[in-house]
């Protein structure tokens, strides 16, 4: 920490000086995300996949689908689980070994955004009630880290799940058997999109880069669905937000999220 402290302080001063003139280091507007490009089906062996590039941040999401025994209390619903990991190739600070609290948070926030939005109608993913359901696993691998992994994982996951093909299974003698070469479309009800904002001094910036991320005071991730409703929130960082700032952030998220959602829709 202390080695980087002087550099961080200089960086912060420079970023803040620019913000006072209404400018960001990379020339974006305060409420503007970096350019998002999504390539679908980059992993043909996965039932769905997407590579999302948000500026220089890059995430590959892969969807694997297999029959699962349901949890005892949700035998009438399929299973949907998202994870995330930062690969050691993504950044000099990324390490191998058990996940750090930051990575655990990233994975859980990614999962929450997809799950709480009700993106998929899970009741349509039951093979036999209480016995066998379709399990959808969306794993995100961060391959290049230039800040705001929350949103990059959100976009990659939504795009990968939205474009996946669900293999057909039939129950034979109480066991699910795959029917070769038959697929169904995923029962998508809405497209969740997260927008993360950094608070630096009094300024709020959509989609912070790694430099902005490293010196921010606080952050908020707001996930919205296709109807413009809020479906998940996560505040982080060592400062707080006023109620007015949070209302403003939700408006910024709905607005910036709508643009992102169009990009995801068009790539299908």
């Amino acid at each position: 920490m202390s080695d980087g402290l002087i550099i961080d302080q200089l960086k912060r001063n420079q970023i803040l000086d620019l913000l006072k003139e209404g400018k960001r280091v990379d020339g974006r507007e305060f409420d503007e995300s970096r350019q998002l490009t999504i390539d679908l089906n980059v992993i043909p062996k996965a039932e769905g996949s997407a590579r999302a590039r948000l500026g220089d941040t890059e995430v590959v999401a892969g969807v694997k689908i297999q029959p699962e025994r349901p949890f005892p209390d949700t035998g009438d619903k399929g299973m949907l689980i998202c994870t995330a990991e930062i690969l050691p190739i993504a950044h000099p600070s990324a390490e191998t070994g058990p996940p750090t609290p930051d990575v655990v948070e990233l994975a859980r926030v990614t999962d929450r955004g997809i799950r709480e939005s009700g993106m998929l109608d899970m009741k349509q993913l039951v093979l036999e009630k209480d016995k066998s359901v379709i399990g959808i696993f969306c794993d995100n691998a961060v391959t290049d880290h230039d800040g705001n992994l929350f949103d990059a994982c959100s976009y990659a996951s939504t795009a990968a799940i939205n474009s996946c093909k669900i293999p057909k299974y039939e129950m034979q003698d109480d066991a699910p058997v795959k029917v070769e070469d038959q697929f169904t479309e995923p029962p998508v009800t809405t497209l969740p999109v997260s927008v993360t904002m950094a608070k630096i001094g009094e300024y709020i910036l959509v989609d912070p880069t790694i430099d902005e991320w490293s010196i921010m005071d606080a952050r908020i991730t707001i996930t919205t669905n296709s109807d413009g409703n809020v479906v998940a929130l996560q505040k982080g960082g060592h400062d707080g937000f006023t109620a007015e700032e949070l209302i403003k952030c939700s408006e910024m998220s709905i607005k910036a999220g709508a643009k992102i959602r169009e990009i995801i829709k068009q790539t299908k």
Binding site: S117, V231, G240
Partner: protein, 245 residues
């Protein structure tokens, strides 16, 4: 918020909730400061049926040493649930959920604690959930601020915690376990009442922009109520005759 199927009536025709509360009412909160002998500061909080014990150690030397910072003290938090705190036994090893909650509570307390006063040291906050009944992160955060104040650590404000949410299509205050399982949304808030800053905010579930605003407003209301109980707990400890300073 899967809106898990249940027979419980979350809100009856008179607007009364499953545990007898009105929509804008918190559960009963009691806090006692200074309950542990060894810890530098401590608190015991009951938030409805949640029972949580918090101990604070520090400022003290940092181990492992490489974690120490020459410029500031560091805050370390552990939120942990006892295996017997919930219906089905919980594995005592820290789960991913507990790792995340520890992190968001740490980030909720940091704005309040004046860590720059203690460079090269650590303040450790241990929150042990003995019984859980929905809303443990807010209750643990509330107890942790009292324990930090009890330890005499300089603070800018206390952080009070209380959740808002949505159940049976109504915006409600202080979501209990049944409402968390079967309701539509849970939005925990941590709030510094004097600085008017929200330092913890999460959401599971779907809210319209209007409901989101209402949840934040009603949640801040709840935090203000909890804050009064926090202050009283500290007054009761430090002014034994209950006289206000």
């Amino acid at each position: 918020m899967g809106g898990r199927d249940t027979d419980i009536v979350l809100l009856d025709e008179n607007g009364i909730r499953c545990d007898g509360r009105k929509v804008n009412e918190t559960r009963k909160v009691t806090i006692k400061a200074g309950v542990l002998k060894n810890a530098n500061g401590s608190a015991y909080i009951e938030f409805g049926d949640n029972k949580i014990l918090v101990g604070v150690y520090g400022p003290r030397d940092v181990h492992p040493k490489h974690m120490s910072d020459t410029d500031t003290g560091i805050l370390r938090c552990r939120y942990h649930m006892a295996p017997f705190s919930v219906g089905e036994r919980k594995n005592p090893a820290p789960s991913r959920r507990e790792v995340e909650i520890s992190k968001v509570i740490k980030e909720a307390l940091e704005p309040a604690v004046m860590l720059k006063e203690f460079p090269r040291t650590a303040v450790d906050v241990y929150m042990e959930v003995l019984q859980a009944d929905g809303g443990t992160r807010c209750a643990a955060l509330t107890g942790a601020s009292v324990a930090l104040a009890d330890a005499g650590i300089p603070m800018r404000d206390l952080v009070a915690g209380c959740a808002a949410g949505k159940a049976a299509d109504a915006v409600i205050l202080d979501v209990n376990n049944e409402e968390d399982q079967a309701g539509q949304a849970d939005l925990p808030i941590g709030y510094m009442p004097n600085l008017k800053k929200i330092t913890l905010l999460q959401l599971d579930g779907i809210l319209t922009p209007e409901e989101y605003k209402q949840c934040i407003e009603i949640g801040i209301d709840g935090c203000n109520q909890v804050y009064e109980i926090q202050k009283k707990a500290l007054q009761d400890k430090f002014f034994a005759n209950g006289e206000k300073q």
